[in-house]
């Protein structure tokens, strides 16, 4: 909270964005907590949708429209729909479910905290001094594609080949002849 206030004092023109960030971040964190504590698999998946949607909203705040639309299309429209589809096809009972909790949850929480620490340290260490430009303009899609096909062409191709391998693997596994 105090961090938010200092940021608001530093850059008054971003005050609406700061407020929006506060709201979105709260929704995101609360639904992430509910996601791991709820006792129903479908509810957990729906909370995950909320988390992913608030991440998309954060991308919009950062003026990265293309990334936000991709987040919605890929994670909400495809991944979560497939996940819900799978859950509903197999075990989709309504109401609380037994056996979703087990003894290792404290270790899990510990690992998650550890990860949070590492990631915050890395982010603050690397980007701690950077500030958003005064006049932030929405990112142009053409610039994104130019970057992908020039600076990041090697990782892009590597991921393409990886996905192709995964695709062929899925077909091989699914095909029983």
């Amino acid at each position: 909270m105090s961090l938010l206030l200092t940021l608001a004092v530093d850059t008054p023109q971003f005050l609406p964005q700061q407020i929006a960030f506060g709201i979105i971040a709260t929704i995101s964190v609360l639904s992430a907590l509910k996601l791991v504590t709820t006792s129903n698999v479908v509810h957990a998946a729906l909370y995950l949708v909320l988390v992913l949607a608030s991440v998309a909203a954060l991308y919009v705040l950062l003026a990265a429209e293309f990334v936000a639309a991709t987040q919605v299309l890929v994670y909400i429209g495809a991944v979560m729909v497939l996940m819900l589809f799978g859950v509903m096809l197999t075990r989709a009972q309504i109401g609380a479910e037994e056996g979703l909790d087990h003894e290792q949850r404290w270790i899990g929480a510990l690992v998650a905290l550890f990860l949070l620490g590492i990631m915050s340290f890395a982010l603050v260490d690397h980007f701690g001094d950077e500030r958003l430009p005064e006049n932030i303009v929405p990112q142009q899609t053409a610039e994104v594609s130019d970057e992908i096909f020039s600076t990041y062409i090697v990782p892009f191709e590597a991921i393409s080949v990886l996905l192709l391998a995964a695709l062929i693997g899925a077909i091989v596994v699914a095909r029983r002849d």
């Binding site: 429209e65 299309l73 589809f85 989709a92 309504i94």
Partner: protein, 347 residues
């Protein structure tokens, strides 16, 4: 003359217009096609009592739905069951945001326009899955699963059909696609502009078939097949919540028709040979007024195709439906992208 408006003022005006742009065309198309055209195609009169030629029938129907009891099934997951129609409506209202109605008459001109539309249109699947699961009814669950399978299968050809248009226009922005068509020429003849329905006819056909399937309209109404699933994921819904689903379905039909008009029929512009007669540019300020009318006309033409198919064809079987998407539509649209890309580079 220009008026300076505060952010909240322009936002409220946009909200009102978004409601108008979603509800009025939906009501009009439902009366014109669902009530009247279907009746005439079946040699009957349709609604005649409420208002002249039954034109107030829809108001009577809405009144009827609003009076009905709001029923929750006893074992239903109340929250998910109650939220599902709103998720579907949310997707509908997000979709209308990127439709341009004139050179300055648009809600928002996103640089990622078409991509945004395709992304938010996939959110409605979530609402349908929620409805199917939350109802605690086997028919609903089966209907929801069928709907999800169908919507995933037909989203791909839809995206791929739009990619052809995007390659030709060279932009994802809806306004950019409209101007690309208005300024385009066909072999040096600019009188018609270059509506992409001519060069991208394959894309248009695939897009319309995919739209029909995305809307679960006959012949793609396997998810709500009444002879085997009651009404699928809608079985347990009544009253207000059913009305919301109903609005969502038919308003989305109109909005997809708006998209087809923008992507393939030139959007809010008229063919340049008409504007040449009056000696004005295609994006003259007058089109802020005429544009919505042009869009409405084109939208009604496209929705006519949708409802024509709806009332003419019998239902696909589930396996035929999936095979049609994966083995016919997707390969054709991939070839279409390839050919468009090659021709784009050549010319």
């Amino acid at each position: 003359m220009s008026v300076e408006l505060a952010y909240w003022q322009s936002t409220s005006i946009r909200l009102v217009f978004a409601l108008v742009a979603v509800l009025i065309p939906a009501g009009g198309a439902v009366y014109l096609y669902l009530f009247k055209m279907m009746s005439f195609m079946q040699s009957r009169l349709g609604p005649m009592e409420a208002g002249p030629y039954g034109s107030m029938q829809l108001l009577a129907e809405v009144g009827k739905w609003l009076q009905k009891e709001d029923i929750f099934p006893r074992k239903a997951d109340k929250l998910v069951f109650a939220l599902a129609p709103y998720v579907v409506l949310l997707s509908t209202f997000l979709l209308v945001l990127v439709v341009p109605f004139g050179p300055d008459a648009y809600f928002v001109d996103l640089d990622v326009g078409v991509f945004f539309a395709l992304a938010v249109s996939s959110v409605s699947v979530l609402g349908i899955l929620m409805a199917g699961w939350g109802s605690a009814n086997k028919y609903s669950l089966l209907g929801g699963l069928r709907a999800a399978g169908q919507l995933i299968a037909y989203e791909l050809p839809m995206v791929l059909a739009v990619v052809g248009v995007v390659i030709q226009a060279g932009t994802l922005s809806m306004q950019g696609i409209v101007s690309a068509q208005a300024e385009g020429e066909i072999f040096g003849f600019g009188g018609l502009g270059n509506p992409f329905i001519i060069t991208q006819f394959v894309g248009f056909a695939i897009f319309m078939i995919a739209v029909q399937a995305e809307l679960s309209m006959t012949p793609f109404d396997m998810p709500i097949a009444e002879s085997e699933l009651v009404t699928g994921y809608l079985t347990e819904y009544s009253g207000m919540r059913f009305l919301l689903f109903f609005i969502g379905e038919f308003a989305t039909a109109n909005i997809f028709a708006f998209f087809a008009s923008v992507l393939f029929l030139g959007g809010w512009t008229v063919p340049p040979f008409i504007t040449d007669i009056f000696g004005i540019e295609y994006d003259d300020a007058i089109f802020n007024v005429l544009g919505p009318i042009v869009m409405l006309t084109k939208m009604l033409l496209v929705t006519f195709l949708v409802y024509w198919a709806r009332f003419s064809y019998p239902r696909f079987r589930e396996d035929q439906l999936q095979r049609f998407a994966w083995k016919i539509l997707i390969p054709i649209s991939l070839v279409n992208i390839f050919v468009t890309g090659v021709l784009k580079v050549v010319f």
